[in-house]
């Protein structure tokens, strides 16, 4: 079992990080803002980790975990600060305009990282030290990160700030009329999302050992967006499930390709054409599951099923009148 998990260690940790990235896009979306900026912050976090661990804190042997935590702190502060600056200017825009502005932001960061000395130009940064002996051990970083992010978002959906987000999502003008500071709320959602992506970047940089400009691209923005929209964009469980499932999907297809049951051409198609299938599934699930796979209604139904089993029907509480 442990051996099995170890051979899939990298994949498992990547899935967990995928869930975190899904959440980082979900947060601005909670307030109705389509931001594709996450890969930019993710890349930034990765570069912070790569630069600090190869230059500033260079050590021999195993890299100490507390230093990784320190890197995460630095990355969070930097991503947050950048997100405030970008957010305050870009969030005057909405809908497709905001999405375009964040695409431009990601591309500008990418061109910068291709050209700056400190980010290793086109080659990137190599030999980022490893804090753990096995890839699976990275769960000690990624797991708590996802747990904290998930709990945070779960709570957020139930407190004043999160409700303000939901109000803006439904109708920004009405929300403003009810006294919600819409700009502040939107910037908040954007900043939290940016910080999450930055933190995920730190873990990913150590996990992958190298970091370069290919990490923050337009493609990545879309992949993260698909985590949210296919997983479900109305509950925080949606992006978590979507991030994990869609990160696993290409790997799953690769495994099927290697199974002996398939004729050779089909195996070759699954190996080389995985992204074709990915693209088709993406388009199809938009058409057939426009609200994502995990919706609040689905969760409600599951909850009710579990509830009924525990109590006899007579003990069910009366439905609440007057919502």
């Amino acid at each position: 079992m442990i051996e099995y998990l170890n051979s899939y260690g990298s994949l498992i940790v990547t899935m967990v990080l995928g869930a975190v990235l899904g959440l980082s896009l979900y947060l601005p979306l909670m307030a109705g803002q389509l931001s594709l900026a996450s890969p930019g912050f993710y890349a930034l976090g990765g570069y912070v980790a790569a630069i600090l661990s190869t230059r500033t804190f260079a050590t021999d042997g195993t890299y100490p975990v507390p230093l990784v935590l320190l890197e995460m702190l630095v990355a969070a502060v930097l991503s947050g600060a950048l997100a405030v600056v970008v957010g305050l200017s870009a969030l005057r825009l909405s809908g497709i305009y905001l999405a375009l502005a964040t695409i431009a932001f990601v591309e500008i960061l990418r061109v910068l990282s291709l050209n700056l000395e400190i980010t290793g130009k086109a080659i990137g940064i190599f030999q980022i030290p490893q804090p753990f002996g096995t890839k699976l051990s990275y769960l000690w970083l990624a797991g708590p990160l996802l747990l904290a992010a998930g709990l945070f978002t779960w709570r957020l959906e139930r407190v004043r700030t999160g409700r303000a987000f939901a109000a803006i999502r439904e109708d920004e003008l009405a929300a403003a009329a009810m006294g919600i500071d819409t700009t502040r709320s939107k910037v908040r959602a954007f900043v939290i999302g940016g910080v999450l992506a930055g933190l995920a970047g730190v873990v990913a940089a150590h996990l992958t050992n190298t970091w370069n400009a290919r990490q923050g691209t337009f493609d990545a923005s879309i992949i993260y967006l698909s985590f949210v929209l296919i997983g479900g964009s109305r509950t925080f469980l949606g992006p978590i499930a979507g991030g994990m499932a869609l990160t696993y999907l290409p790997e799953w297809l690769r495994e099927r390709a290697d199974s002996a049951l398939l004729p050779e051409w089909a195996g070759q198609f699954l190996r080389d054409g995985r992204l074709i299938i990915y693209g088709v599934l993406l388009a199809l699930s938009c058409v057939f599951f426009p609200r994502g796979f995990i919706t609040p209604e689905l969760l409600e139904r599951i909850k009710r099923l579990a509830f009924r089993r525990r109590r006899p029907p007579s003990a069910q509480p009366k439905p609440e009148s007057a919502a």
Partner: protein, 309 residues
Amino acid sequence: MGDFLQKLLNGLAIGSVYAIFALGYTLVFSILRVINFAHAAIFTVGAYLTYALTGARFGFNGILKNSALPFELPFWLALLGGALGAGLLGIVVEQVAFRPLRKRGSDPLLTLVSSLGVAIAVVNIVQYLFGAENYSYQDPLGGLPGKVDIGPAGIRTVQVVIFVVSMVIVVALTLLINRTRIGKGLRAVAEDADTARLLGIDTDRLVRLSFFISGVLGGLAGTLIAMSVGIAGPSFGIAFGLKGLAVIVLGGLGDIPGAVVGGLVIGVAEAFVPDSLVSYREAVAFVVLLVMLLVRPQGLLGRAQVQKV
């Protein structure tokens, strides 16, 4: 002076292709109010189709390794064929990624993702079939000399051809939109789709048509760029697709003259990036995009929209 003129002409040539590419985006946007992210994939397909139609041989990476079509078309016919094929692909994209969602009145964000899904699929089908290597056309200009002198500036003949072809397309499209019945229908649907339908305009047909024209424009742009710099693998449309977004924002989303002006402005701006900063050239379009969005989101020629309650 010669240097200045040369840069200007090169900028105008590349800018004119940006313009027709962006016209494809903006035509669909003006009608459906969504951005077709599969446009960049259509651009790629147009360039590859033209390559195939000239009867050239494919490399050894894809599943069609070393094969070629049994006939060879002259380049200008191949270019037209590539553009038509791209136009048909545009219709397919509309049927698969847009129509089902539009009929249901779904969130426009979903259309964005579904069109991207189609784009990912198309780009990877191209890679699966033809492999990831670079291709370039065999002598697309026939016997023409490689360079022409315009005043003190020498400029590649390819650039001149690109500019002329693009400008012909722009004029033709302008006439189509402004002078024909079809163009009137398109403008009516863009103004208000529901009213247009009530007045007896077959909106579905016009939407299909706009995707066809948009695909033709995208495919042509792909071939024209590939004439100049070659086909750099299946994803060479992606960077171009993103720049096209900058062009339409500069011109104002859905604004047809704006897209032309925006394309030329960005092409020229890129050409004038000094040599010492040439590696930052790729960022020019995005800086323009960001600044425009912050300063004048309605575009160079657009009017500000009043938010209605």
